[in-house]
């Protein structure tokens, strides 16, 4: 009997088995290996020593392999799994969490609600950007380079001089350009942009560096201040489910002329005065105005023929007033105790 050949044969078989094994250490207990030891008493005395050395060498080899494999294993202690299976070996079908534990973020809910109202009065909904250039954020909105009005927007700037938009108005030029054919077709441009904006502000219970706004723009022939007021009033009455009164105060924004700060009669106390409106009966809600002709022109629209209005409203404030939420930081806290209440 050629024990050398026999060992070679077993080595091959063991190698094959090794690849197949889930638990690599089991190779050392393989019957094939045991069978080799069983040969020892049977071989001639002069070969015994050599055979013994050969078997041990094979065993050492296997041990080294197991060791190496276990090293590999501990670097990724978990085993390979069949990713195409619907569940694990010897395991039950995984289950979903309880439906009643699920929740939609209050800001998303509010955005969906606001979007629905704007949809219903003919406004198309757009998303804004999370990174933009200063041209859209400022220049296209009639803030010349180095204009001091830029200081009122504490804007985050990247190393590449890109900006984290400080208002959803950063979308005005894009939307006006994209939809200017509406005007030729005799249709207005009507759009709302509810999305995330950023301000370089110290954070406290009332200030966040990341928050949400909804922008509205409307351009057509002969649009006037009265249309702006009526549109906002319609929106807010639908939003609060009751008729509200409105009031505008002059303000300054470079991208509207005239510019206003818009207040509504407090829907929580019907102007009687409560803690939400600081007993004034009025809530200062948003900024708005007639779109500056320069902004309209920059989108390639003739400002002699067309005019329009724009407005921007914070979303968190709407929610905080409605539910009495005490701290704006909760919105981005991902605290389930907070989120599950909505």
């Amino acid at each position: 009997m050629d024990y050398k050949k026999e060992i070679e044969k077993v080595r091959e078989l063991l190698n094959e088995e090794f690849i197949e094994l889930d638990d690599k250490s089991r190779i050392l207990k393989s019957p094939k290996l045991k069978a080799l030891y069983a040969l020892l008493p049977k071989v001639a005395a002069e070969h015994k020593k050599d055979l013994g050395i050969a078997i041990n060498k094979l065993k050492d080899e296997l041990e080294a392999k197991v060791k190496e494999e276990s090293k590999k294993d501990s670097s990724s202690k978990l085993k390979l799994i069949d990713v195409t299976a619907p569940f694990d070996i010897n395991a039950k079908l995984p289950e979903f969490l309880e439906s009643e534990d699920g929740s939609i973020h209050p800001i998303s809910q509010e955005i969906e609600k606001v979007s629905e109202i704007f949809n219903s009065i003919g406004f198309e909904i757009f998303e804004s950007r999370n990174i933009d250039d200063a041209w859209h954020m400022f220049t296209s909105l009639n803030f010349p380079e180095d204009h001091p009005a830029r200081d009122d927007y504490d804007t985050f700037v990247t190393e590449e001089e890109l900006v984290a938009p400080a208002h959803t108005s950063t979308m005005q030029n894009r939307i006006l350009s994209l939809r200017k054919d509406n005007l030729k077709a005799g249709l207005p441009i009507a759009a709302a942009v509810p999305d995330r904006v950023y301000r370089n502000e110290d954070v406290d219970a009332r200030h966040e560096h990341t928050f949400y706004q909804v922008e509205g723009i409307y351009v057509d022939k002969d649009v006037n201040v009265g249309n702006l007021i009526a549109t906002l009033k319609t929106f807010l009455s639908a939003y609060y489910g009751k008729e509200v009164e409105t009031r505008i105060n002059p303000f300054y924004f470079p991208f509207t002329e005239p510019s206003f700060e818009f207040a509504l009669s407090c829907p929580f106390c019907d102007k009687k005065g409560c803690h939400i409106c600081s007993q004034s009966g009025w809530i200062e809600l948003l900024g708005c105005g007639m779109i500056h002709p320069n902004v309209i022109e920059m989108a390639g629209i003739d400002s002699k023929q067309y005019s329009g209005f724009a407005f921007g409203c914070g979303i968190e404030r709407l929610i905080m007033m409605k539910y009495g939420i005490e701290d704006v930081r909760l919105f981005h806290s991902a605290k389930l105790k907070f989120l599950k209440q909505f």
Binding site: A85, P86, I89
Partner: protein
């Protein structure tokens, strides 16, 4: 911008103070709705209750204190409830070095507040006290305590220089002096970003008149754009060379000889102080006073400090790079060539339009001065101000584009004032660097346009009447109104600018609100928005919670998630290192929120976020702006060990969502290369226990996401619980292909038959392959029988040391037109079994 009603009234020819008869709520409403937002209305006079003029009649040393005196004062009997001696005098202990018999002082009676502490959290209210054993009733006050200057060197002593005889007597209420009984409105500066004139009292007074329908008339000295300067009596020599007229369009200056630097009169100090400006000395105070009247900043130099040779030569130029200047206050700044400097011909003596230099400062020994009245380009000033972090009153005003025409006018007034204060002073000839005169421009405003934009029906006459209220000169002309903006309204360029004024002065709230008339067209919907809505609704129904996290993360978080911060856009002016990088994917933020929720008692939950992430230098083709990846991130966490690998829970969520969206997809084992191609999304995941998500696009499957468990480092770094897994995917492809229409199958009338089949395969065999092979076999064996079948996996079983596993399926058979019988079905199942 603080506006004093008293000062406003002082410069107005007509009574514009009637508005103060309104209730405070109505006044606030009126100012708000027709001028603009303000921070507060301050009743300045309120802090002077219980303060009277009093005469020190007798003064004795305090027996137990070297520095204290016991004063007997006469308040003319004005104060009630105060202890008096038999002569009706009041005893007050006073430590001021200048207290002496016979002088007139301001006395704060017991029970009254020290005015300088009036706005403090705990105002200092005086009571009768004993000072070193001697009774003292109230106190004799310094200018500082009276909130009229910072001077605390002694008590305020009033003389005939300060007041006329009628008022200079014991018992006069202090608040009735020096215009202290005042109402101050603190308008928000940003309201007036476009209104240079409203950074001066004349400008706001004009608006106060206008909103009361009073025709305002500016002071005569202010209206005349060609002021007459006094004849030069000084021989001081001054030359001005302006080599940068593009950014310093106007520079005028004058020398004044033989001046005396001293404290300003009380009225001036009090006026500046209540408007938030610290009184310094008569010269500086005059420049500041004229600034708060007109909005034109002035600057005074010490003539002798900038003299070289026989005279002074002012040279206006751009600074040289790394040139240095020590500004007022002592800080040294390093200039560069975008800064405007005023020099003495050689060295900078002021940072033009921003701040004076320490080397030319007017001090108590100054004998001769140069007063500068200049105009600077607003953009240049803003750049310099931002770069050096210098935000002075001058910067506030110059960055609003002050009118050029005003420089001469205000300089002329400054000369007048210095001469009035110091009658022995002599002024030189006035030097004006650019003689170009202001020219009025006219604008024809169509009545129709006014009414179209405002939604009103104003006549030409109404329009011009309104504009004339605030000196925007207007007259009717055919169907237009010819408008001539005054020199101080540099903001009035377009028709819209003037229409805004008309609307504001008319009252925007009187405008009728009417909805726009629009043609009806269906609203287009953005598929990505609709998709997000669907995902939100579905995942929350499956018990998951939507969260919103910041776009901004720390480098540390990226590293902890196995991502490379070099790939992230970085914020240059981040609030903190915590918020410095734009996130590279959503899952790391979600991982970061797991531990805190577990700690607060949530044992098992799933978080998801719909949001955007960015990777540096990946740009949109057409706009060259950063690509915004639309992502869905999801993590599941359970503090207990889950049944089998947690991977399968995350996968189940994803699979269920994708079927709801009708997205054809498959999960594939990720080879190293594919796994790495998904970085940075894949970085937190463990390759051996994650699958790639492939979504069918056209006829091909494309890799669009990853689902799996997290690698060990991540588990440690984020303190993840026993079981956690998640997924992240790109939403754009899905948004282009999803549908919420259910896949309806007609109901089958005939009963179906259920059978089980168990298949033994090597443990390495992929379930998906086994299943699809099985499916094919059934299809083959069913042939044209029209029998339908549905496969459902039931279990995957494997003995611990076996190299095989058994997969059990339940199969439902039915036929659209007949009832199947069991043997018929069993036969097919047997065949399939055998063929395996």
């Amino acid at each position: 911008m603080k506006y004093s009603f008293n000062l406003g009234q002082q410069i107005s020819k007509k009574d514009i103070s009637k508005i103060l008869n309104l209730s405070s709520a109505d006044l606030a409403e009126k100012l708000n709705s027709q001028i603009g937002a303000f921070d507060e209305i301050i009743n300045w006079g309120a802090r002077y209750e219980g303060i009277y003029l009093a005469k020190i009649v007798k003064l004795e040393k305090h027996p137990d204190a070297d520095k204290l005196n016991i004063c007997k004062i006469d308040d003319g009997g004005a104060a009630k409830k105060v202890e008096r001696d038999k002569d009706g005098l009041i005893q007050v202990v006073c430590g001021a070095p200048n207290a002496k018999e016979g002088i007139m002082v301001a006395w704060i009676s017991p029970g009254s507040t020290v005015p300088s502490t009036y706005d403090d959290k705990e105002p200092f209210v005086l009571s009768k006290i004993k000072l070193r054993g001697v009774e003292s009733n109230g106190m004799l006050a310094s200018e500082k305590e009276l909130a009229i200057s910072e001077d605390h060197s002694g008590i305020l002593e009033l003389t005939e220089k300060d007041l006329n005889k009628k008022l200079l007597k014991p018992g006069t209420l202090f608040k009735n002096l020096f215009g202290l009984d005042d109402i101050i409105v603190d308008f928000e500066n940003k309201m007036f970003t476009h209104r240079p004139d409203c950074f001066g009292h004349i400008g706001i007074a004009r608006e106060i008149a206008g909103i009361q329908s009073i025709n305002f008339e500016s002071p005569d000295w202010y209206k005349n754009i060609d002021p007459i300067f006094p004849k030069a009596t000084s021989k001081l020599k001054l030359e001005v060379e302006n080599s940068i007229e593009d950014v310093v369009p106007k520079y005028s200056a004058v020398c004044i000889e033989d001046i005396k630097v001293e404290p300003s009169p009380i009225w001036l100090k009090a006026t500046l102080y209540k408007l938030g400006i610290r009184p310094i000395n008569n010269i500086v105070d005059i420049t500041n006073y004229l600034m708060i009247l007109t909005g034109q900043p002035l600057h005074a130099f010490d003539y002798d400090k900038i003299k070289s040779g026989l005279g002074t030569k002012i040279n206006i130029r751009k600074a040289k790079n790394s040139e240095k200047l020590t500004i007022l206050g002592g800080k040294e700044i390093t200039l560069d060539k975008s800064d405007i400097v005023i020099t003495d011909g050689k060295n900078p003596i002021a940072l033009g339009g921003v701040m004076g230099g320490a080397n030319s400062e007017v001090d108590n020994n100054t004998k001769n001065i140069v007063i500068e009245s200049a105009n600077f380009n607003m953009y240049a000033i803003r750049r310099t101000s931002m770069r050096h972090g210098l935000f002075t009153d001058a910067v506030t005003r110059f960055t609003k584009s002050q009118p050029e025409a005003q420089t001469k006018i205000v300089l002329a007034k400054a000369i007048d004032m210095v001469k009035e204060f110091l009658p022995n002073s002599k002024s030189s000839e006035v030097i004006i660097s650019n003689k170009k005169e202001f020219e009025y421009e006219h604008l024809n405003l169509p009545r129709q346009k006014v009414n179209t934009i405002l939604g009103l029906d104003l006549s030409r006459e109404q329009i011009s009447d309104i504009l004339n209220l605030v000196e925007i000169y207007s007259h009717e002309m055919l169907d237009e109104v010819c408008v001539t903006p005054p020199f101080w309204r540099t903001d009035l360029e377009l028709e819209e600018d003037i229409i805004e004024e008309i609307g504001r002065l008319y009252g925007f709230n009187k405008i009728d609100a009417k909805l726009p008339i629009r043609r009806v067209a269906p609203v287009l919907k953005d598929p990505i928005i609709e998709l997000k809505k669907a995902i939100r609704a579905h995942l929350s129904k499956l018990g998951a919670n939507e969260v919103l996290t910041y776009n901004f993360v720390s480098e540390k978080l990226l590293k902890r998630a196995g991502q490379d911060p070099e790939m992230a856009y970085k914020i240059r002016n981040a609030l903190s290192p915590e918020l410095q990088c734009y996130r590279l994917s959503l899952v790391p933020n979600l991982l970061d929120k797991i531990h805190s929720n577990l700690k607060s008692g949530q044992d098992q939950f799933a978080l998801f976020e719909l949001g955007k992430s960015h990777i540096k230098n990946l740009l949109e083709k057409d706009t060259k702006l950063p690509l915004e990846f639309q992502r869905l991130g999801f993590v599941y966490a359970n503090k207990d060990k889950s049944n089998g690998a947690t991977y399968y829970i995350a996968k189940k969520y994803l699979e269920n969502l994708l079927s709801y969206l009708n997205i054809e997809h498959r999960f594939i084992t990720l080879e190293k290369e594919a796994f790495e191609s998904l970085a940075p999304i894949s970085s937190p995941f463990q390759s051996e226990r994650s699958a790639g998500l492939e979504v069918k696009v056209g006829s091909k499957f494309e890799l669009r996401g990853i689902v799996g468990e997290f690698n060990e480092d991540i588990t440690k770094n984020f303190k993840l619980p026993e079981s956690s897994a998640g997924f992240e995917l790109d939403l754009v492809t899905i948004s282009e292909n999803f549908s919420l229409d259910p896949n309806y199958n007609p109901l089958i009338k005939f009963p179906s038959i259920l059978q089980d089949i168990t298949i033994k395969v090597p443990s390495k065999a992929l379930f998906a392959e086994v299943e699809s092979e099985l499916r094919l076999k059934f299809k083959k064996h069913l042939g044209n029988s029209r029998i339908n079948f549905t496969l459902r996996p039931i279990s995957i079983f494997k003995k611990e040391d076996s190299n095989n596993k058994s997969i059990a399926f339940s199969i439902e058979f039915n036929h659209p037109e007949k009832t199947l019988n069991t043997p018929e079905v069993s036969k097919i199942v047997e065949k399939v079994k055998r063929s395996h």
